[in-house]
């Protein structure tokens, strides 16, 4: 029987290795798999390359993973937000590397990685510093920059509802990067707010088909990052 359910966040992230590339879902706190991130902090893998749109807030979740010194490099589009202190300090002191990618190019690179497209062209960033050193090519009289597909060892994402095959649905704008990150990782690890019987998710409304998912762990009442930040919480 195919059963991708796994008992705990700790078990779900146990094999993430030093030096791994890890896609982490979420746009700010929406869709951030905070319990999986905290399990990764407990687990301790280091020298990670992490892909996320941002760099976390306060001292929990992604910010705590960075603060804990586990991240060697961030690939993201917007590494600062109101409550983002951890990354800016490490970045200014040269202790963390940053690859800044326009948000749509980041999304398309992840989708391309998952879809077996090694490279594609986009008009985004042409004529800006972010296109420097990249190949520029004209199609139909307009210039485009070549960007590479992005694949990863692991993806950590948050879903609303899952089944044992790994079929997923999401909640509102918490969907964001999760479906494409699920496609682009060798091992996709999901925390789901509910797990239902096979067949309970209508095949028409599955957003991420189970083929893109390796492990599903139930986190029935996920923490809300902004609340933890407001309370001044830290992790670990």
């Amino acid at each position: 029987m195919i059963d991708k359910r796994i008992g705990s966040p700790a078990a779900a992230v146990a094999d993430i290795f030093d030096g791994a590339t890890v896609l982490i879902g979420g746009f700010g706190e929406a869709g951030s798999p905070i319990e999986l991130i905290h399990a990764l902090i407990d687990q301790g893998a280091g020298n990670l390359t992490v892909v996320n749109n941002n760099t976390g807030s306060g001292h929990v979740g992604l910010a705590a993973l960075i603060e804990n010194g586990q991240v060697a490099k961030m690939i993201c589009s917007y590494p600062r937000t109101t409550n983002s202190k951890v990354f800016p300090e490490l970045y200014r002191s040269g202790k963390i590397e940053l690859e800044l990618v326009p948000q749509g190019t980041l999304a398309e690179r992840i989708r391309a990685g998952g879809a077996g497209i090694p490279a594609f062209y986009t008009a985004t960033s042409v004529g800006t510093p972010l296109a420097e050193g990249k190949e520029i090519r004209a199609f139909g009289g307009r210039e485009y920059v070549m960007e590479y597909g992005l694949r990863a060892d692991f993806a950590l994402i948050k879903a609303q509802c899952a089944d044992r095959h790994g079929n997923l649905t999401y909640n509102k704008t918490a969907r964001n990067f999760a479906p494409i990150m699920a496609m682009a990782a060798k091992t996709t690890i999901v925390q789901a707010s509910s797990i239902v019987e096979l067949g309970e998710i209508d095949p028409e409304v599955v957003v991420t088909p189970g083929i893109f998912v390796n492990r599903v762990v139930l986190v029935a009442n996920p923490a809300q990052e902004s609340r933890l930040v407001a309370e001044g919480r830290t992790y670990p």
Partner: protein, 225 residues
């Protein structure tokens, strides 16, 4: 529209008036993406009878106004990470699909803020290029590359009185030749092949006043004497 009592009200449009003026130029039926800050306020001023659909690049088409206090959902936010609502007819989608809407020229109009706009329509709005700044670009470069009509709402000058409309941007670019029209506190200014052209002046502002606060030569549009 209140001003501090400490200093005399400068001539020109308030933030709200700039947003309202921009809203006049958005036709009913448009698909629109609004940047963070004053651009967000455009949604409040859509003229009666026009239905406009707002896109937020984090995966929502049909974004509605902010929720009533206490009704915020941390998983229903806009690109500025503020709580929003979804109108009837809304849809959620993932980031690659969201930026397919942008890059594929499906969004009709995008309204953005600016640090600088050059007379060639170049936009700089993501980085001062300062060595200690944390660079952060978000979706700005995708929006200016993919959306056919880019409107800018901006104060005409910086807080220090430096012109933001310039011959050439000194800050790192967001995109080249992308801006169609600027709504500043002093004027509505079009980008034309010959550079900046003033289409409309704010009340109490004359052409020379705007020219003095602009970093390059302005032309008068047809609407001006």
């Amino acid at each position: 529209m209140t001003m501090t009592a400490k200093k005399e009200k400068a001539p020109g449009w308030s933030r709200e008036e700039m947003a309202a003026r921009a809203a006049l130029d958005i036709p009913g039926g448009s698909y629109v993406n609004l940047g963070i800050g004053i651009p967000e306020m455009v949604a409040r001023y859509v003229p009666e009878g026009r239905e406009v659909i707002y896109h937020t690049e984090n995966g929502l088409l049909g974004m509605g106004p902010p929720p009533a206090p206490g009704c915020e959902d941390p998983e229903l936010i806009n690109a500025g990470k503020k709580a929003v609502t979804a109108i009837p007819g809304a849809s959620f989608f993932h980031h690659a699909d969201s930026f397919a809407m942008i890059r594929g020229e499906h969004i009709d109009i995008c309204v953005l803020g600016a640090m600088q706009v050059s007379e060639k329509g170049d936009l700089a709005n993501w980085s001062t290029g300062a060595p200690d700044a944390i660079p952060a670009v978000g979706g700005a470069m995708d929006l200016v590359a993919g959306v056919p009509t880019i409107y800018v709402i901006t104060q005409h000058c910086t807080a220090e009185g430096e012109p933001k409309l310039v011959e050439s941007c000194t800050y790192p670019l967001t995109g080249q030749g992308v801006v169609s029209r600027i709504y500043s506190d002093l004027a509505v200014i079009d980008l034309t092949p010959e550079g900046f052209e003033v289409a409309e002046l704010a009340p109490g502002v004359d052409f020379d006043y705007v020219q003095q606060r602009t970093g390059c030569k302005l032309r008068k549009g047809n609407g001006l004497d």
